[in-house]
């Protein structure tokens, strides 16, 4: 009896400490799993092509920026395209989605559940299935192989998901605010711009980050709907660089590192808002 009583009190500090240790080990392993390939890629940019194959896990023999300069020269044009497509499609997607979400949450629309279902149903549409008709449609519109094609596609395919996120957030905002603004004489447009939109800042930042991640990395549409190097975006540019300079992996690694940098910086700058926006929006 005495022994059985004493046993749990002795084991109490041991197991929590053990569990905590295992948790730390697990998190550390996960961190290595995520970060090591990125680090390996960045370090690869400093090596020579032969060192990558002969000594793949060693540190670079010399810290030359030559590959990075070559990578920058090779991807500069693609990066400009990516910047343009990403910025414009982010703006159009977030603004259209915010307006749509405002309409879906703040106005009386006949058959609203049907409208909500129709818009959010867009999330179910597979881009692969729509490829062939989309090629025809964009050719007919005369915007095939242009930045406009990618901006239009990225906006159209991301509006449902972005609307879904912003709508969930707006549902949490108290109706009294709209009514108070209405009593103050604000029109629906003014209520949207001056009251609701500023209050949606956390979810808008989350949506901006999510869209930038999508548009910057998107490959399928960029590969199919663009041909000219002046229009192609980074993911396509990087693959074409590999086919041309297949043997110079060091330059490719450097270019990939350069192309990933803007996204990493944006994510770290907006990380706080990003998490807050997503978790708050999930409330309803």
């Amino acid at each position: 009896m005495t022994m059985t009583m004493a046993l749990p009190s002795r084991s109490r500090p041991f197991w929590p400490a053990m569990l905590r240790g295992m948790l730390w080990a697990f998190l550390f392993a996960m961190g290595v799993l995520v970060l090591y390939p990125l680090l390996w890629m960045a370090l690869g940019g400093f090596k020579s092509n032969s060192q990558i194959f002969s000594d793949p896990f060693a540190l670079p023999a010399s810290w030359s920026l030559e590959n990075y300069l070559a990578g920058w020269r090779a991807t500069r044009g693609y990066m400009l395209s990516s910047l343009l497509v990403t910025l414009v499609s982010t703006l159009t997607t977030v603004m259209i989605s915010a307006w749509t979400a405002f309409g879906l949450t703040r106005t009386a629309i006949p058959g609203k559940p049907l409208v909500v279902g129709f818009i959010l149903g867009g999330m179910m549409l597979s881009p692969t299935v729509a490829l062939v008709p989309l090629v025809r449609m964009l050719q007919d519109l005369g915007i095939y192989d242009s930045h406009a094609a990618l901006i239009l596609l990225y906006t159209a395919f991301r509006v449902p998901f972005t609307t879904f996120l912003i709508r969930a957030y707006m549902l949490d905002l108290p109706r009294d605010l709209d009514e108070a603004a209405m009593m103050d004489g604000a029109s629906p447009g003014q209520i949207f711009r001056k009251v609701i939109l500023p209050l949606c800042q956390p979810i808008l930042i989350s949506c901006v980050v999510l869209h930038i991640l999508f548009a910057w990395n998107e490959y399928l549409f960029a590969m199919i709907f663009t041909n000219s190097p002046g229009v192609q975006t980074l993911p396509v540019g990087l693959t074409s660089m590999m086919s041309k300079q297949g043997t110079n992996f060091a330059a490719v690694f450097a270019a990939m590192t350069i192309s990933a940098l803007p996204i990493v910086i944006i994510f770290f700058l907006t990380q706080r808002y990003f998490i807050r926006g997503l978790t708050q929006g999930i409330g309803k």
């Binding site: 009294d176 605010l177 009514e179 108070a180 603004a181 209405m182 009593m183 103050d184 004489g185 003014q190």
Partner: protein, 370 residues
């Protein structure tokens, strides 16, 4: 001019009627309180007046102008919401200035109006703070300030004190009373479930039940002369005692046979046709008193519970005259009473109120002797 006229005002949600034809006249500068139990339609009525709900049928006139389809901002009204509804991303100044900025008023005028309202409500030091940095009472004052700066003809309050604690509520109530005095020409409509707020602030109270007006009148009239059993039970805390009885003789004098077999003579007229019919006798707890030695008692009973409140004691008395629920009696805090003891009770006939079988008060002037 900001008098209000409501004529057969109705509101339905789908097929569900919420307001069943409200008729009400509110004079310019009057302070009106809407009271009633939850779901009685008092907030819906206020929102119809504000323009936040469409009016299904009937008329709403403000200053003689039909307002049924006029936008809220054009009705000359301002509203203080239960939740304050302050814009969280704006400072106190911006919150108060928002409506005037929308209206395109000159900057100097906006600043002057906000400063004046802030001074009136002691908000001067907080003008550059955000609502999250204010206490509940300060937020409430900002909400009132936001309404004041618009210089409205009609001021609407939707349960403005319900989010405050008891002490702050009492203090803010006094501030609202002071505010009303400083704006004599402004009509105020105040929705509350708190009788104390309604009784102390309002010139007239409107009692609502199930989307209908039960009674409209001065607070003291509603208290002393309730129109029916619902108002008698709703206004006053503790509520009026309702005793079942039978009208034995009607005419110039009224004789009642109580449930315990006792007889009560009242020197007041009663409709002759009601002789032999069941009636209800209403007596306020403070109108019942302990009988003096040798005095003929109206009621007798056993004390079930004594609630000592210091100044007064509330007795719960089990009596054969009130079989449904104990009688509630308010006696002085110093009265010598004990739980389980027998008591004899008296009441002034003038303070009693008679209701017919359907619960409607007898229309006799003798009931109220102020």
């Amino acid at each position: 001019m900001a008098d209000l006229t409501l004529r057969d005002l109705r509101k339905t949600y789908g097929n569900v009627p919420v307001l069943h034809g409200i008729d009400l006249d509110i004079a310019e500068g009057e302070f009106i309180a809407f009271v009633g139990p939850s779901g009685c339609g008092k907030s819906t009525l206020l929102r119809c007046i504000a323009g936040l709900e469409d009016i299904s049928a009937g008329e709403l006139r403000i200053g003689g102008t039909l307002m049924n389809h006029v936008a809220p901002a054009r009705r000359g009204i301002a509203m203080v919401f239960q939740s304050y509804a302050l814009y969280p991303h704006m400072t106190v100044f911006e919150n108060m200035a928002f409506g005037m900025r929308i209206a395109g008023l000159p900057k100097a005028e906006i600043t002057a109006r906000v400063q004046s309202a802030a001074e009136k409500l002691q908000l001067g030091p907080y003008l550059h703070r955000h609502p999250r940095a204010l206490s509940g009472g300060q937020r409430q004052r900002v909400a009132i300030g936001r309404a004041i700066v618009r210089d409205p003809g009609v001021f609407l309050f939707d349960e403005p004190l319900s989010n405050l604690d008891a002490a702050l509520r009492a203090a803010t109530r006094v501030e609202i009373a002071r505010l009303k005095k400083s704006m004599p020409g402004t009509t105020m409509i105040y929705v509350t479930h708190d009788q104390v707020e309604a009784m102390t602030l309002a010139d007239r109270i409107v009692v609502l039940r199930g989307g209908r007006i039960e009674q409209v009148g001065r607070p003291i009239d509603l208290y002393r002369r309730p129109a029916n059993l619902f108002v008698a039970g709703f206004i006053g805390s503790p509520a009026m005692n309702i005793l079942p009885a039978r009208l034995e003789a009607a005419g110039q004098g009224t004789t009642l046979r109580m449930e315990d077999g006792g007889q009560l003579h009242l020197a007041r007229p009663a409709p002759a046709g009601l002789a032999g019919r069941p009636v209800h006798l209403g007596i306020r707890p403070e109108d019942l008193r302990l009988a003096r030695p040798g005095e003929a008692a109206l009621l007798s009973g056993r004390i079930l519970l004594v609630e000592q409140l210091g100044e007064v004691q509330i007795l719960h008395v089990e009596s054969p005259a009130a079989p449904a629920s104990p009688l509630i009696v308010k006696v002085p805090g110093t009265a010598d009473v004990i739980e389980g003891g027998q008591v004899l009770l008296c009441a002034e006939p003038a303070a009693m109120r008679l209701f017919d079988e359907a619960g409607v008060a007898f229309a006799d002037e003798a009931t109220l002797q102020e």
